[in-house]
């Protein structure tokens, strides 16, 4: 048994010993301990180093508000920095490390920063490190040198580069009533709502419900309060309409009564079971929320208040009551309200020694006096702590007479011997979620605290959240909140009985004792009371300026202990009241949340993969796959020893020479059906579709409303009122949405239905002079000769028993067909085509060859339709119908859009025999080092097997007017420069004889 551990009491299991290490040193604790309670029990007072001055720090609180005792947890092979020791449940094998120290926690070089003292006041870095205005360190150089050092000194824990091996998951929940906080108010609320038949979720951030009742030592319904809380919890667990979530912090209150919570599912066990998440991110949509989030104690600011051994009084009470741990052998309490007297009595009851109670108030009530008597001391009223002794551990406090009305100290300062100092500056309701929900907190001058705002969403407050501090009030307001959430009136039935308290938890308005030495407001960020006053002196007086200038409240604890004292000091400096100084708006999260938890199931699986029906075939046949949006498409089928470039040249040549086959299943396909389908298409396409004959297809162009090109594709008329539209792969989704918008909003009178059928069809394009011959060998049920299947014609038939639809159209410029079949028949038909093509050496080809063929032919794709080009830029003027209006016709003729000097489509030919490069620019000057202004850029390039040259498509100023001229390819990023000729983009078979043949 460690010296600080009591022999009995608390809810830890003394029969179970747990082994853990801190900074490599082995320690033991008990089941039920937190890392903080176990360290305290072992007499470890120095736990961390502060951010700026690297001052020694110990455990300050017992909960989520901990500013000092941050450690790094080493678990499952990775580091998790900045975890408050107060929130770590002790488990076997736990390994924790202190942070922000070198070489060790006890001896830290960074502590030299303390010598900087006043040089390092608030915002000092804005005033220096600018360096010389001339010379080698001019500009930003000097600062960046300084920054290099500063960045290493700053930061808290160290993160790994190793991937987090954890699993995270998301859970959606719906309920009538979400109760946040499982203290007695929350428990009462949950039970009342559940009994009224509501679906209830109760979320408690700690490992079990009960809150304050777990360590208060109070009695409810003649039972110890913790036993009473356990019983009501058991009753709730037994109900079907209640879900109890422990270790679950509700951290965000979003619009529409949507709340976010983090469940720490497996952080308290040595190893997460396989298949289970480490943490679970809950999104809870609640009809009504009961906020029973309690209150947090705040400290009083005084010189030396950061010495390890100084703690919140409520935390001392909790360590004694819940964990059977005394924070020291001799404790001094320092307070401005009665709650420290409860802590004093609790220390005494646990067998500890109270050295003194120092109270800034002149007078105290009878009950507080009685508690002091129980603790064995006569309170030093009208006194204050003005300093502490000790470096890495507290060895004493200095006390002096103090007038709370004037803030003046008088008389002699005298030391009190102690190794623990417990401080209470009163209680601040936890109103973060209410503030996140929208609404401004209200300052209560009497309670000296910010109270919840008027609700702007559907929530009801209960318990200490409302600024009520007694258990009697908590039981009543909890039940009422539960009833109200179930639309019921307050009940007059008997409440659980508990002794009313006559203690006065209303604090005297004293949150700072001014004296010599550093007095910390924000412990973690090392913001002192003098820093706040410096900010005031320099005009950073609005609360946001104060925060930003001093970094007050910006640390991992988000100012849970520092906000109110900081505001009080600023208000005093300005000579105004606290509410006039303002309050900050609380933002999510209430307490830090693992980033992976919010990524949830997408951690390790960012986006789904979209696979064509032929995907496995491609992979089995050696295709290198490339992402295309969510799709995977074959780049090329490189054989052994073949590069991708060699492969695509081989594939494209095979198409020109004989026949090739490519998977085009990713093209967007939309069924457009209904009596007004043709009219609809006339309006969305720039060209006309109502004249298209059944059984024929037509190439179409779409613009956006601003007159620029949106998408292109062919649309097939399968029946009088039945069209199949194809879109580019990339734009399938946007086109569908655009069409739906047009139908729903612009032309609701049109009778047209749209259905995405992209996934219904597998598509294979068969291209090359032998394409028809291949089809003739395998297609049954229809002829495929030029009469039966002319250019842009459509036929239906079968291939090896599978129904197919064939349209004769060409992207490659060859005689080509697109063969569509049911997706489930995709491989079957593909293999049948390959078999039929075998005598012709049919060659599967990928995206690179497809790209090469289209560049030779001058067809545009996404690189040219980049959202900045017009139809005229792409020489598609002929597609713009003059007989009708269409989407985009209203604005497409604006002057800058018809300017002749715009970037327009051309072809380019490499004159030096070297490849071009996508994204290379074109310039007029042949001076490689000073190429001058860009006249355009290459949108796509390839080696053309047909022309036996490197060619490309480009958008250049003036377009056609430059045909036949020379220019230079300038690609400084890839260090390439060379001469090119600008030519027509129709490189190959400009008259289309091959595809019409």
């Amino acid at each position: 048994m460690s010296p600080r551990r009591t022999s009995a009491g608390g809810s830890i299991d003394r029969t179970r010993t747990i082994r853990f290490t801190f900074d490599g040193e082995a320690h033991t604790g008990h089941a039920g301990d937190t890392l903080a309670s176990a360290l305290l029990a072992n007499g470890v007072s120095l736990v961390g180093r502060s951010f700026k001055y690297h001052r020694p720090r110990g455990v300050f609180s017992a909960g989520v508000d901990e500013p000092n005792a941050l450690v790094t947890i080493l678990r499952e092979g990775v580091r998790e920095p900045n975890i408050p020791a107060t929130q770590i449940e002790l488990h076997d094998g736990l390994r924790a490390e202190s942070q922000n120290r070198f070489p060790s926690l006890a001896w830290d070089f960074g502590a030299l920063n303390q010598l900087g003292g006043r040089l390092l006041g608030a915002g000092f870095y804005y005033k220096t490190f600018m360096g010389p205005v001339a010379g080698p360190l001019k500009g930003t150089r000097f600062w960046m040198m300084c920054e290099h050092v500063i960045r290493r000194a700053a930061g808290l824990g160290r993160a790994d580069y190793e991937a987090d091996p954890s699993r995270y998951e998301h859970m959606n929940a719906f309920c009538d009533v979400l109760v946040v906080g499982g203290g007695i108010a929350g428990l009462m609320a949950a039970e009342a709502a559940a009994k009224a038949g509501k679906r209830v979720i109760l979320a408690e951030q700690e490992k079990q419900t009960g809150g304050f009742a777990r360590w208060s030592g109070e009695t409810i319904d003649a039972k110890p309060a913790d036993a009473w809380a356990a019983e009501i919890t058991a009753r709730l667990s037994a109900l079907d309409n209640v879900r109890l979530l422990t270790r679950t912090a509700v951290w965000g209150y979003y619009d529409g009564n949507t709340l976010a919570a983090l469940e720490r599912v497996n952080d308290h066990v040595a190893r997460t079971p396989k298949g289970h998440p480490r943490q679970r991110h809950w999104t809870i949509r609640a009809g009504t929320v009961v906020l029973a989030t309690g209150a947090l104690e705040r400290p009083i600011v005084f010189p030396g208040n950061d010495c390890p051994g100084v703690m919140l009084a409520g935390a001392v009470r909790r360590y004694a009551g819940e964990f059977g741990v005394l924070p020291g052998e001799k404790t001094v309490l320092f307070t401005n309200n009665d709650s420290a007297y409860q802590a004093a009595a609790a220390i005494r009851r646990a067998g500890g020694h109270v050295a003194a109670i120092v109270d800034v108030r002149k007078q105290i009530g009878d009950e507080a006096t009685a508690l002091a008597t129980e603790a064995g001391v006569v309170p030093l009223t009208g006194h204050a702590i003005v300093g502490t002794k000790g470096g890495k551990a507290l060895s004493g406090a200095v006390v002096q007479a103090f007038d709370a009305d004037t803030g003046r100290l008088s008389g002699e300062a005298r030391p009190i011997d102690c190794d623990s100092l417990a401080v209470s500056g009163g209680w601040q309701p936890v109103i973060h979620l209410a503030s996140q929900a929208g609404g401004k907190p209200v300052w209560d001058a009497e309670k000296q605290a910010f109270l919840p705002p008027e609700p702007t969403q559907r929530w009801i407050g209960a318990g200490a959240f409302l600024g009520e501090t007694g258990s009697v009030e908590a039981l009543a307001s909890g039940r009422n909140a539960g009833l109200k959430s179930a639309d019921k009136r307050p009940s007059r039935a008997k409440l659980p009985e508990t002794a009313p308290s006559a203690l006065d938890l209303t604090p005297a308005p004293v949150l700072e004792i001014r004296g010599k030495g550093k007095a910390f407001v924000d412990f973690q960020h090392d913001v002192t009371a003098d820093d706040v006053r410096l900010a005031h002196r320099e005009g950073f007086v609005s609360v946001e300026h104060l925060k930003r200038y001093t970094t007050l409240g910006m640390a991992t604890d988000q100012g849970k202990t520092s906000n109110v004292p900081g505001l009080a000091i600023m208000a005093a400096a300005r000579g105004i009241e606290i509410p006039q100084a303002g309050t900050t708006r609380f933002r999510p999260p209430f307490s830090p949340v693992a980033i992976g938890a919010l990524a949830a199931e997408r951690y390790g699986d960012l986006k789904p993969e979209r696979l064509t029906p032929l995907h496995d075939w491609h992979e089995e046949h050696g295709a290198e796959m490339t992402p295309a949006g969510l799709w995977h498409r074959p780049l090329a089928y490189a054989g052994a020893g073949e590069t991708v470039e060699q492969a695509y040249i081989r594939e494209a040549s095979a198409v020109r020479r004989s026949v090739g086959l490519v998977d085009v299943s990713t093209l967007g396909k939309i069924a457009v059906k209904g009596p007004d389908a043709a009219t609809f298409l006339d309006r969305v396409y720039t060209n006309t579709f109502s004249t298209l004959k059944v059984g024929k297809a037509r190439y179409g162009l779409m613009l956006r409303e601003d007159g620029l090109v949106f998408d292109d594709g062919t649309t097939w008329r399968l029946g009088e009122t039945d069209f199949l539209m194809t879109t580019t792969t990339a734009n399938a989704g946007p086109v569908m949405q655009h069409l739906e918008y047009c139908l729903d909003i612009l032309w609701p009178d049109l009778k047209v239905h749209l259905t995405s059928v992209t996934d219904q069809w597998a598509g294979a394009a068969i291209a090359g002079p032998k394409a028809r011959a291949v089809l003739e060998r395998c297609v049954t049920g229809t002829a495929v000769d030029n009469d039966a299947l002319p250019f842009m014609g459509i036929v239906h038939g079968e291939i090896d028993g599978a129904p197919v639809m064939i349209c004769r159209l060409s992207f490659s410029g060859e005689l080509a067909y697109e063969v569509y079949c049911g997706a489930g028949h995709g491989v079957h038909v593909w293999e049948a085509l390959l078999e039929a093509g075998e005598p012709f050496g049919i060659t599967p080809y990928g995206m690179e060859a497809l790209g090469a063929l289209r560049i030779e032919k001058g067809h545009v794709t996404g690189a040219e339709i980049d959202g900045r080009t017009t139809a005229r830029d792409l020489y598609l003027d002929g597609m713009l119908s003059k007989k009708k209006s269409f989407i985009g016709s209203g604005l497409m003729d604006r002057p800058a859009l018809i300017d002749r000097n715009r970037l327009r489509l051309v072809g380019v030919v490499s004159l030096d025999g070297q490849p071009l490069g996508g994204g290379a620019h074109l310039v007029e000057s042949g001076n490689r080092d000073e190429p001058g202004d860009s006249i355009g850029h290459v949108t796509g390039y390839c080696y053309s097997p047909a022309l036996e040259k490197y060619i490309g498509l480009a958008l250049v100023k003036g377009g056609k007017t430059r045909h036949g001229t020379r220019a230079f390819l300038s690609d400084p990023l890839r260090k390439r420069f060379g001469q090119v000729e600008i030519v027509s983009h129709h490189f190959f078979d400009p008259d289309g004889e091959r595809m019409h043949g």
Binding site: Y125, K127, A159, A260, G919
Partner: protein, 419 residues
């Protein structure tokens, strides 16, 4: 001795830091000014500074409805870059970059501009070509840009998933070495202090409630602190442009207000040494000098003035940062917040004289306002002083929509949520 220097810091430390002067005065408004600037954010303050410093116009008031720097200057992810695609943008932002490089000296205020580089990751050959096109465009305009291979990226940015098996493997990256980050608040405070020292009045808690007019002409404003007249009234109120313009009788305008969230993790020791953007989604991340990872993603996608973010977008952003840096999953999100973006219809700003006589307008910054602050102030001050645009802001007119001369970096058309 400069007001701020290592020496002055020492001197003041010795006297208990009691002699520091306010960074700016808190004057009451005068009845008349040469120029009123509505909006005490980064752009308004920079405009005031350049009016005084470059054009000798010091009888200037900056009217701020809340506290100085309370808008997007203090709510962004602090990235400074000029890695744009279109020449108009490159020239404007590069002008800004050059001002940034000397800004701390110019203002005698350390704005902590850290030229640590901005790296845009590309995840497919097509995207690589797009980024190379952009980098080449920069190089042709004299701006620094480099192309990095996955191996070079891996060396520069440890922790990135550069494996070929990543869902979106990294194909390369566009690096602008001179780009980086700056301390956002310091920019506002530095400009405010420098303008103050030149005689400009910074007037906080002064909301413009209406405009004083002489016929069509704007001759002043009504405010919560009384009427104030001026020869010229300039607006730099990104986020509230539509609302302030309505008070001048302009009811519709090519801007929508959208909310953009930003996020910061807990502070950790140095983890990532440059700004990195993820090309397979929309994400940008850097590490602040305090140690927090500062990151953001897409807009919340709907009109908003609420500075409240939504959860699904936050989840999207977290999933993307984890895909980029799989170890970040175990770090913790500390804080999130929302800022209101002036989303223009082509994704580019408007800095111009008009739309009414006597009025000057600076708005439409979309995501990009922070890095633009110096050039925005510089060119806006020029436009106000000379009644004609500077070469760098000449393309950023309001009439460009009518002419079709939009400056559309994203190529997405008039849908603000897509820029």
């Amino acid at each position: 001795m400069a007001e701020y220097s290592a020496l002055s810091l020492l001197k003041n430390a010795l006297s208990g830091n009691r002699d520091w002067k306010p960074a700016w005065r808190k004057p009451d408004p005068k009845p008349n000014y040469d120029v009123i600037i509505i909006g005490g954010g980064g752009h308004g303050l920079a405009t005031a500074y350049y009016l005084a410093a470059m054009h000798g116009i010091t009888n200037v008031a900056v009217l701020e409805k809340g506290w100085l720097g309370s808008g997007n200057i203090g709510r962004n992810t602090t990235i400074v870059r000029s890695n744009y695609l279109l020449p108009e943008s490159i020239r404007f932002y590069e002008h800004s970059m050059k001002l940034w490089e000397n800004l701390s000296h110019e203002l005698n205020y350390n704005v902590m501009f850290s030229q640590r580089g901005v790296l845009n990751l590309a995840h497919s050959p097509g995207q690589a070509d797009d980024y190379i096109r952009r980098g080449n465009a920069m190089r042709h305009d004299g701006v620094d840009a480099e192309w990095l291979t996955p191996q070079e990226i891996s060396r520069r940015v440890p922790g990135l998933d550069v494996s070929g098996s990543a869902r979106f493997p990294i194909a390369g990256g566009l690096l602008q070495p001179r780009a980086g980050t700056a301390r956002h608040d310091a920019v506002a405070w530095g400009y405010a202090r420098a303008a103050d020292r030149r005689g400009v009045d910074m007037i906080e808690n002064c909301e413009v409630t209406g405009f004083l007019r002489d016929g069509d002409r704007i001759i002043g404003v009504t405010t919560t602190r009384g009427d104030i007249r001026a020869k010229k009234v300039a607006m730099a109120v990104a986020g509230s442009t539509g609302q302030v313009l309505k008070r001048a009788g302009v009811d519709t305008f090519p801007i929508e207000s959208h909310v953009l969230q930003a996020f910061v993790s807990e502070a950790i020791k140095p983890f990532v040494n440059c700004v990195v953007t993820f090309g397979a989604g929309h994400l940008y991340v850097s590490q602040s000098d305090k140690g927090g990872l500062v990151f953001g993603g897409s807009l919340d996608f709907y009109n908003s003035y609420a500075q409240r973010g939504n959860l699904p977008v936050a989840e999207d952003v977290m999933s993307e940062i984890c895909a980029m840096f799989p170890s970040v999953a175990r770090l913790r999100l500390l804080r999130s917040w929302g800022g209101i973006m002036d989303m223009s219809m082509d994704g580019s700003p408007i800095i111009t004289k008009g739309p009414l006589p006597g009025l000057y307008l600076n708005c439409g910054w979309c995501y990009g306002g922070f890095k633009a602050t110096p050039a925005s102030g510089y060119s806006f001050a020029w436009t106000i002083a000379k009644d004609e645009p500077h070469a760098i802001n000449a393309p950023f007119t309001l009439s460009r929509f009518e002419r079709g001369a939009v400056i559309n970096e994203a190529g997405q058309g008039p849908t603000p949520k897509l820029h």
